[in-house]
């Protein structure tokens, strides 16, 4: 297994990435021992890992199936909200603190459907099932009616937008604009303590590594080839007897699950979840991370997410006015000069020049409306 992973092309990069993750994990363990990086830095690392996982999820369907989702925030949010509900329940059960959003919702006790969310395994199950079902429905319906390319992108964006509007309503019952905040305890640990942050960050990094290995196994195997085939020429594949709808829906669901897990890791580390997590901008940004890192290369997605967000953390504090300009410049640069993101940096420019020349005006052939 491992051998096959290291074997194929780009494998060294992959293993080096894993190595880097291992180093990071080690540092986090050091923090637990009280000698590692500060709680603040640890928390940042944790968030970056969560974002990287999210990017991984998107790259799986965009990079390998050519399906761009501008609504992945939806699944991220499902994970996030369920996790928030778990934390509130858990905090309530251990410390008896009544979440303040219940006060302004005018609730005396938790609604029935919250029952049991205090138990993590159950919460996890709920999150995954929820994300899975939503993905199954949206995916199946869209792919069945051959919605693809730009249309799919727009529709997913509309979906996440609609979800955002819905969650902004107080009456929807999830804290409205305020969302949920004030989580005090996680796995019995006090939130915000260095230990808690380190544990969360460690969990995120480990899950990221696992996700990386799993997705790598998926795409480098037989299914991976079929995914590429679908991306390159779906009609061709169908006329060879393959049921591409099943393939696409399946991968779509997997991607959704990854996104949901990322959400579950992210929310406890920022300490708040609210409908902004569903804003179309965030979902667009995910695509940007992937594009910048390198579409169709799992490692690229990870690097992209980490780089862009690290930059964002840094600049939105250090030089807030400059950040948006830098981001837009980065995107344009990538789109025009490095279609494969950072990975092009390591290749010569010749190939690019050639590509640019080849690009005349394309036909509107839906089949070709690929990435």
């Amino acid at each position: 297994m491992i051998r096959s992973l290291l074997g194929s092309s780009g494998g060294t990069g992959f293993s080096l990435t894993l190595a880097a993750l291992a180093v990071t994990a080690a540092l986090l363990v050091a923090t637990l021992a009280g000698v590692g990086p500060s709680g603040f830095l640890v928390n940042i690392i944790g968030q970056l890992a969560a974002f990287a996982l999210l990017a991984l999820a998107l790259d799986l369907i965009w990079g390998y199936l050519g399906i761009l989702s501008l609504g992945h925030g939806l699944f991220f949010a499902i994970g996030g909200y369920v996790m928030a509900m778990h934390l509130l329940m858990h905090s309530f059960e251990t410390t008896g603190t009544v979440p303040d959003f219940m006060q302004f919702m005018g609730w005396k006790e938790f609604p029935a459907y919250w029952a049991g969310l205090g138990v993590f395994p159950y919460a996890l199950a709920v999150a995954l099932v929820l994300a899975g079902v939503v993905a199954l429905v949206t995916g199946w319906v869209s792919f069945r009616s051959r919605v693809g390319g730009v249309y799919f992108a727009i529709i997913t964006q509309a979906l996440v937008y609609a979800a955002m509007l819905l969650m902004f309503r107080n009456d929807t019952g999830f804290g409205g604009n305020n969302g949920m905040t004030g989580f005090s305890v996680i796995f019995g640990l006090r939130m915000g303590t260095e230990t808690a942050s380190a544990v969360l960050a460690l969990a995120s990094v480990v899950v990221l590594a696992l996700g990386l290995v799993a997705t790598r196994a998926l795409v480098s195997g037989r299914l991976g080839r079929l995914m590429l085939a679908t991306r390159d020429d779906e009609v061709r594949l169908r006329s060879l007897g393959y049921d591409t709808i099943v393939l696409k829906t399946g991968v779509w669901v997997v991607s959704a699950l990854l996104a949901a897990i990322a959400g579950m890791l992210y929310v406890p580390q920022v300490g708040i979840v609210n409908p902004r997590i569903l804003s179309p901008e965030l979902s667009l940004e995910i695509a940007v991370w992937v594009a910048i890192g390198g579409r169709g290369h799992l490692v690229g997605a990870v690097i992209g997410a980490v780089l862009v967000n690290a930059l964002k953390f840094w600049l939105s504090f250090a030089a807030p006015d400059v950040w948006p300009f830098i981001l837009s410049a980065l995107i344009v640069l990538v789109v025009l000069v490095f279609p494969n993101g950072l990975l092009d940096l390591s290749r010569g420019f010749g190939a690019l020049k050639a590509r640019m020349r080849r690009e005349g005006v394309a036909s509107l052939d839906p089949r070709r409306a690929g990435p």
């Binding site: 390159d232 061709r236 006329s239 060879l240």
Partner: protein
Amino acid sequence: MSALLIDDISVEFGRFRAIDRLSLAIDYGEIRGVIGPNGAGKTTVLDVVSGITRPKAGRVVLDGGLEITRASETLIARSGVRRKFQKPSVFDALTAAENVAVGVEGRLRRTAPAAEVRRRALDLLDAVGLADEADRQAGEFSHGQKQWLEIAMVLGGDPKVLLLDEPVAGLSDEETEKTAALVRSLKRPDRAIVVVEHDMGFVETIADRVTVLHEGRTLFEGSMAGARADARVIEVYLGR
């Protein structure tokens, strides 16, 4: 009983009638050439047979059983229809061997051990003369190589009905020769082959019978020699 029975089908694009009440019967063991000027509806017929386009009227029956006009592309393919597209369609991101392997398996779930699949793929590549290129990326292939690779790919499914859409378009004379030989070698008593082509010479060398289409209707059906002799055919091809 005929392998493919096209019964009185019509296809319209907006106001334009691409196929006009066309009927066609193709038997096992025959190679049928379908010729005709541009816009005659040749490719559209193949689109209907492979389920990409749904006719406005009429039906297409495969092997006396499957109603193609109701089945999904996937089901049609699984019942033994394979098609080589006019524009060579291979998966650029995969190697030649992987391309053919995809054709051989034809199912999402694994049907045969990987090793065996690869062996069959290599055999087919050998058959189309690409054995040495097995592990090259298809994206790097020349036009002709892509044509043959695609043929190998569709042969992977061991089709009952094989549809070849302009297999020699854009090929050099000697490549055309090679392709002709290849197609002839595909002829089998339990297989029907339909070849759509402009190149009358090519069709003549391979086809048992030809159908001449014009403006979505059958203009002539019979031997190639007959076609050459037929007045209407000449008029259509040479114009007044």
